[in-house]
Every structure is written in structure tokens, then in C-alpha cells.
Amino acid sequence: MNPRSLPSVHTPPRWEPATLARCHDLGSDVRLFEVRPDSGATAPYTPGSHLPLQLEFDGHPQTRHYSLLEEAGDAGVYRFAVKRLVHSRGGSEHLWQLAPGDKLTIAGPANHFPLSFANPEYLLIAGGIGITPLYGMALALHRAGKRLRLIYVSRDSAREHFATALSALGAALEVYPDSASAAPAIQRAVAALDPAGEAYICGPAGLRRHVRALWEAEARPPWALRYETFANGGERPEETFEVSVRNLGISFEVPPHRSLLESLIDHDIEALYDCQRGECGLCAVDVVSHEGSIDHRDVYFSARQHAADDKLCTCVSRIAGHGRVVIDTRRQGIRD
């Protein structure tokens, strides 16, 4: 076993040293972080951008991405808000242990979730801490005089902070405490959205699935539904599960803070991958059999393909229920 960090083959980040300038609790479990690049220069970025951080915990170097809040840049700092998630991949717990003055490794902001300004109307739907990329988008659209609606579903302790910060939106902002109370509003908003409008979602997988189903029911073009995945936010908590690689005769456990892809590579099993966000499908392997349920967290496979349960994206998907899975890593490609 040889733990290592998986470099992105897609856009190799240029890492640079930085310092945690300040942290500030926005609620009991949501903390604002201000990170100052040691070079003193923050790069400009557009709404929807995230900051890559290289962290080291559990003995592994790990890369995490956090959506930038819009106000950053003015004071030579990058600002992002993180929710503490105990049953997650460990990034937030690690950040919680940091104190101002601690050293960090960051890369310049990148944007995989770019906002257009050319559409006649915008619907933004945020779930929980998923507000962070949409926050800057909403303010930018508002300033540009665009028609927009932001539905913010959250029980987060930081909800009031964000709602107050977005008060300039007036009636365009709707805040709901949970998905049940938000469901009618989301349904109405999707139905009423201009046919040439776009929707942007950031939030848990369940919210994304819910909106995607409404979107398809309205026969709207799939590319007008914009979302970002952060390789987290599955239906089920992160648990240890057991993997057997049938073609190699190797078995091992995947711990909660490690992806199946990372574990494969830790065990010197050659694996193809690219995006590490469940988008490109290159890391998908055949599922020979499984016990427990497959928590499909990718957006590469269609609902039909997920239901078949015969492939899974190793970079994000997991087995829930302390289960096990037998995979075969020899084959890529599509099969009906």
C-alpha cells in the first residue's frame, strides 16, 4: 500500500504557498476561511469559480475544491465558506483544525461552473452549503439587471448570514428550511422559467436528482440545467467497504475518506481517470457483483445506466451499508 495524491491529468494546477489569514464562524457548523497567497497577489475570477487546496490528512495528500465567495479578491484574500461534515471525505474536519497563520497550498481559481449572461432568465437553486457558488452568481446577475430567482433550501446554521447578504435580491430570493417545503416552489419555478432560461444547481445529490427529474418532465434542454459536482454529496454517508478486483485476485478495504479510485492506485493497480468529479466516465469499471447498495455519485451515467448497477465510477461512487463489491478493471467503453 502506497498512499499518494492523484494529480489531475486534466488541468495540472500550479500550486503556490498561502497562509490562512482568518477564520470566522458564520454558524455553529459553517466557517468562513480567508486565505492569503504568500505572493500577495490574488488572481481575478468569475462567479462559480473554486479554489483548489492541497491538504494532507489521514497520511495522504488530498486535493479539495471550495467555491469562492464573490467578495474575495479585494483585500488580497480568497474567501470561502465550508460546512463541517463529519461523515464526508474529511476535508472539512481537517480545515476545522486549522488556525490563522497556518500554511496552506493552493492553486489559482478555476471555473468549471461558468455563468452565462446571455439568457433572458435565470433560476438558481441552492441546497445547504451549495449556496456558496450561487451566492456570487446571484449578485452578479442582479447587478447586471438580469431576471433571476434564487431558491435557497437550507437548515444550515449559516442560513441567516447568507440570506442577509443576499437581501439586495428582494423578492427574487426565496428561502426554505427543507426540501419538503421548497418542493412546490421549485416545481413552480422550473415550470415558469423562460424557455430560453438556464438553471444552476448546487447542493446535495438528492436535490440535483429532484430538479433533473422536473427538468426532464418539462422537456427542457439538458444543457440548460447547469450544475457542479464536487465528488461529494452522495445519498448515503461515507462508509468503509470491501473491494475485490476479480481480474487481479486482490481484495482490500476502502476507508471513508478515500475514494475507490484512490484506493486502487494506493494498491498499485493501474487505473484510468481524468476529472475525478464523476463527470467524464473514464474511471468506470465493471461491477461483477455487490452486496449493499451502490451509491452512484457520478453524473456521467444516465438514470437508466445507474439502475442497471453493472458499472460504477470509481472516482466518486461508493458502496453503502458496509457492503462489498467485486469489480473487473480490464475494460473501458460502452455497452448497451
Binding site: 481575478p44 465567495l69 467578495e71 453524473v299
Partner: protein, 364 residues
Amino acid sequence: MSNRGYPLNAWYAAAWGHEIQHRLTPRTLCETDLVLYRRSDGQIAALQDACWHRLLPLSLGRLDGDSVVCGYHGLAFDPHGRCTHMPSQETINPAACVRSFPVAERHALVWVWMGDPSQADTATIPDFHWNADPALAGRGGTFYSLQCEYRLVIDNLLDLTHETFVHAGSIGHDSITRAPFDVTHDERSVTVQRWMLDGDAPPFWARQLGRDVPVDRWHNIHFEAPSTIIGDVGVAEAGTGAPQGDRSRGVTGYFLAALTPETATSCHYFWNFVRDHHIDDPNWTEYLHYAHVNDGQGVYDQDKAVLQAQQIAVSKYDRPPFYNLNIDAGAMWARRIIDRLIAAEETPPAGEQTSTPSVFARQA
């Protein structure tokens, strides 16, 4: 601090409207490759000319309806740059898109906004209404990929002293170098004004006036940041009141220049010259067109030779490129305004957040 010599938050001319049809037209603006095309509803689309997948220029692909299909693997992008088709999969990667640029057609030109799209306000497109004024007539053109950086052209147009030397025999005249001039400026513009009273008219103007008599001649050159210039130039019979506003015994031409950075050392120069006389006579239109651009013989051909030679020298010599003269005041104000616009883009304004009280703001 970058070495970029132009602001991005600006409307830059990318093409004449009639040049953009329902086909893929590649064009480089501000060191960024674009592909332009007209949609079936008449609107124009401007996308980054590089497929998300493998960076092949999309302009090497084809249009399918209003979408661009990459000529390599068939990924399709709608006019907003959203990927609408990926081969061999049931879904579309949500990250897949190419950048789209705000674009608008106004006063015969296609203008593209290369900067922050949230600041693209079509109300700030440069006023080129002279291009479409029914009381005026003319036919312009473009020097695409003129091999000099765009500010050299601004320098050229903001001081017409050079007419005497570069354009001797057509619009040049010794009186230009003798006449006093005024340079005024504000936050976004510079105006250079020069009157040459009671002299003979150079051949270009004598022909338009139609009589060889002493004239009062004027140059009113107006620069709007970052890169457009409108020149109001002409002659009237001397002493008939032109300096006081009466041009009834004269002829006026407006030259309209939109300069678009292409690379750090090249630009696109969109030009037009419209006249207020004989506006229904196509012979005059052709004559004045060829007076400017005529297989190397026109006035702008002469400028092109000077500007390109100057750019080569600027790139070659290891000294500050310019020592300045009194006559350079207009160009120097223009460059200072441009520098300010560039600097403002590199430092986010502190006042940007005043519209929204921030709960995240640093506490003292």
C-alpha cells in the same frame, strides 16, 4: 501586473455586419481566437474558437442549425457555448462548454465584449452613427491583421501633422505644421482641434470643394477610450464663417476608425470615410474609397507602411520607444486613459461591494 496593452472590458469591432453570414468566420481579438456566425434569427454568436474536448478550432467544423459541430469528434455547442452533444454517451458532461462572448451589431459593425460579461452594456457601444447616417455617404473597409499594435494607429490619427509628410500630394500641406492646435480631454475622451485659416486647399479637398479658392480648413479629432476615433475634417471658402459654425460654403468628411487589438503587435483597423456632398453619386463613393485604400497608393496604404515599419522598429530598439513632442499631447492623453482602464481591471474596485452590505467583510 500584466503587460497587456489593452483593456478587456470594452466593445471592440470584430467585423462589418455584412461580413458575418450563416457560416463560421474565425477572428482573433485581444489574443483570443473567436469564431463568429449569424444565427437563423439574425443575431450573431461569438464563441471561443477551440473545442472543449481537444482544442481543435471550431471554425474548422460546421454549422448544424444554430449550433457549431466540431470537425474532429462531433461535439456540438449552442450559440451560448453550451455543449449539446457528446459522442457515445447518454449524458453530457456538465462542465463542457466553450466561452461565449457578448456581441451586438450596431452602426454597420459587429462589436464583441472581451471582458467580464456581467459588465457588457450595449448602451456603451461606441457611437458610430455616421456609418449609417442617410445624410452622409461613403464606403469603408478593414485592414485585418495590420502589423502594428492598435495604439500606434491611435497616435497616428490623433495628430495629423503627419499628413504633411506621409500624405504629401493629397491631404498634406505645410499649413498643418504651422497652425496652432488645442487638446482637451475628460475621463474617457480626448479631442484635438486645429484650424488652418485662409490657405490654399490640398488636391484632395480642392477636388471635393469643386473650386480652387482660399479655404479655412479644420481637423476635429475625437478619441473615445479605448480605441475609437471620429474625425470631423473639411474645408470651406475662406472667410465664410466655418470657424463660427457656418459650413454652407464648404464640404465635410467624417473619418471613423475602430481599432481592435489582435495580438500585442497587431490590430484590426476598421475605417470609413463619409462625406456630406454628392451623397447619391456612386462615383464619388468609389473615388473617395480609392483615395484611402488603393493597392498601396491610398492615404491609408501610406499610413499602413509607416505604422508597420514603426512597429518593427519599436520591437527592435532597446530604448524607450518614444520621446515626445508637443504635438503628441492628444496621443499621450489617450494612452494615459487606456492605462487607467487597464489598471482598473487589474485591481477590483473597493466600491464594488457597496451595493450589498456584506456579512463576510473583514472586521476591524
